[in-house]
């Protein structure tokens, strides 16, 4: 009897391990027979600015946002991540990467060596990008200065440091559904929806997350505690921004100026450094889309901060 129980237990354990191994495996796009693409560098630059790559990957404490040697510390409840070098340096950066390597990294969160990236890298949003735009971005990155130097390893505690676990996380929280254009809406609205939900990755900070770090879908864009610690990331649905016109939103993304005559602070300051570089029609498109977000109640900010 005991023997039989242990046999069943063993079989169950093997089955669980098998399912774990299957679900946690890094999945990438098929590299073969992908259509050839002639890169458009100007479009790549737009995607670079919409994606906010410089905010995390530019070398900190120096003025040039195009030196992508990495090193910015990104704090989270799971540990501190250090943004890697994505300059075209052949050894420390992405100089030796192929198009397929880059597409798999950005859209699937898988490294050229076949490992999962931590979702601090917002591929959960970038997965919705168009492959051609990702390749344009890659071509643009390759025109930027090479910066030598590898960035230190992430400082993440057990069990979050087991990369294979990220496969399970992706299974749970990465929908994998392509962003479908809404035919009933204007081309401008669809362009805005695309930029906000793919490269712009606005929802990554502006949405609350569950205990495992997955976005709570019903409260997307409805605000959240600042993942870096102090303060609050505001609700950007019409619940809070109802009084902002589309023009106010576009102007904010361009200049960092709020309609009530104040200017942006905190992490959004870094975002504005990127969005301020975008063409006016793209800012207008993002504004039109954001203005259309239905009002949603998010979590409530703490009444008053008491410092420890």
């Amino acid at each position: 009897m005991l023997q039989r129980t242990s046999l069943v237990a063993l079989l169950a354990a093997v089955a669980v391990a098998g399912v774990y191994w299957w679900l946690s495996a890094p999945v990438v796009a098929a590299a073969a027979n992908a259509p050839a693409h002639v890169p458009d560098l100007a479009n790549g630059e737009v995607m670079f600015n919409a994606g906010g790559c410089a905010s995390c990957h530019a070398v900190p404490n120096q003025p040039d946002r195009l030196r992508l040697g990495g090193g910015v510390a990104i704090k989270s409840p799971f540990g501190t991540f250090y943004a890697p070098n994505i300059s075209p340096d052949p050894n420390d950066g992405i100089g030796k990467w192929t198009d397929a390597d880059f597409v798999n990294a950005v859209m699937h969160g898988v490294s050229p060596a076949g490992q999962h990236y931590f979702p601090a890298f917002p591929y959960t949003s970038y997965q919705h990008a168009r492959r051609e735009d990702v390749l344009d971005l890659f071509a643009y990155l390759k025109t930027l200065p090479a910066v030598a130097g590898k960035v230190r390893d992430h400082d993440v505690g057990f069990p979050f440091d087991i990369r294979r676990n990220i496969g399970i996380w992706k299974f749970l929280f990465m929908d994998g559904k392509p962003l479908v254009a809404d035919g009933s809406k204007s081309p401008q609205w669809n362009r805005g929806a695309y930029l906000v939900n793919s490269f712009g990755h606005c929802a990554e900070c502006h949405s609350p997350r569950n205990a495992l770090g997955g976005i709570i879908t019903g409260q997307r864009f409805a605000g959240a505690p600042n993942p870096e610690g102090e303060g609050w990331v505001p609700n950007i649905t019409q619940k809070r921004l109802g009084e902002w016109s589309a023009k106010d939103l576009a102007n904010f993304l361009k200049t960092g100026e709020l309609p009530d005559g104040d200017s942006v602070g905190g992490a959004m300051t870094r975002v504005i450094k990127n969005t301020s570089q975008l063409p006016d029609q793209d800012l207008a498109a993002m504004a039109e889309y954001l203005k259309s977000l239905p009002p949603v109640d998010g979590p409530t900010p703490p009444k008053r901060k008491q410092a420890s």
Binding site: G256, G261, R270, Q306, A307
Partner: protein, 149 residues
């Protein structure tokens, strides 16, 4: 009786300390608001054409801004360890963890103000001045200003 008086006394003192801390937070908030009034309610509105260009108002706003900026280091010397009640923005605790770095953000603002003082003659030069000053404000707000809701 004696003991009760001591307890009551220390409670009062404690309440007083809390009041004082809130007072400090309010003073700091008021100083930032006063600068916002000069830079945004006056200068930014003129650059946008919301209010007409007025040389006297510009010169006053720049003078007020200059005086306020000079007070930042001193006004933020003490950590109130709390935010103004119901405020939308507050100070990061990093201000007092890295006070020297915080203070080092002030001279560039003063330099930007000094560079344009007395040289603003029209909307175009006002716009350039606004940007050069506001960018230096943002350099500090990026790290040390916290959005609370």
């Amino acid at each position: 009786m004696k003991r009760m008086m001591i307890v009551a006394g220390s409670l009062l003192l404690g309440a007083g300390a809390v009041m004082a801390q809130q007072e400090i937070a309010v003073q700091q908030d008021n100083l930032m608001r006063s600068q916002a009034k000069s830079l945004y309610t006056v200068i930014q509105k003129m650059t946008k054409g919301d209010i007409p260009y007025n040389q006297k108002a510009v010169d006053e706003a720049i003078a007020n801004l200059e005086a306020d900026v000079a007070k930042i280091a001193k006004t933020f010397e003490v950590n109130p360890k709390q935010d103004v009640v119901d405020a939308t923005y507050g100070s990061s605790q990093k201000v007092w963890q890295n006070k020297a770095d915080f203070d080092s953000k002030i001279p560039p603002v003063q330099k930007a103000i000094a560079a344009v003082k007395g040289k603003i003659k029209d909307v175009a030069s006002l716009k350039a001045a606004y940007t050069s000053i506001n960018d230096r404000c943002a350099d500090c707000h990026e790290t040390y200003r916290v959005k609370l809701k």
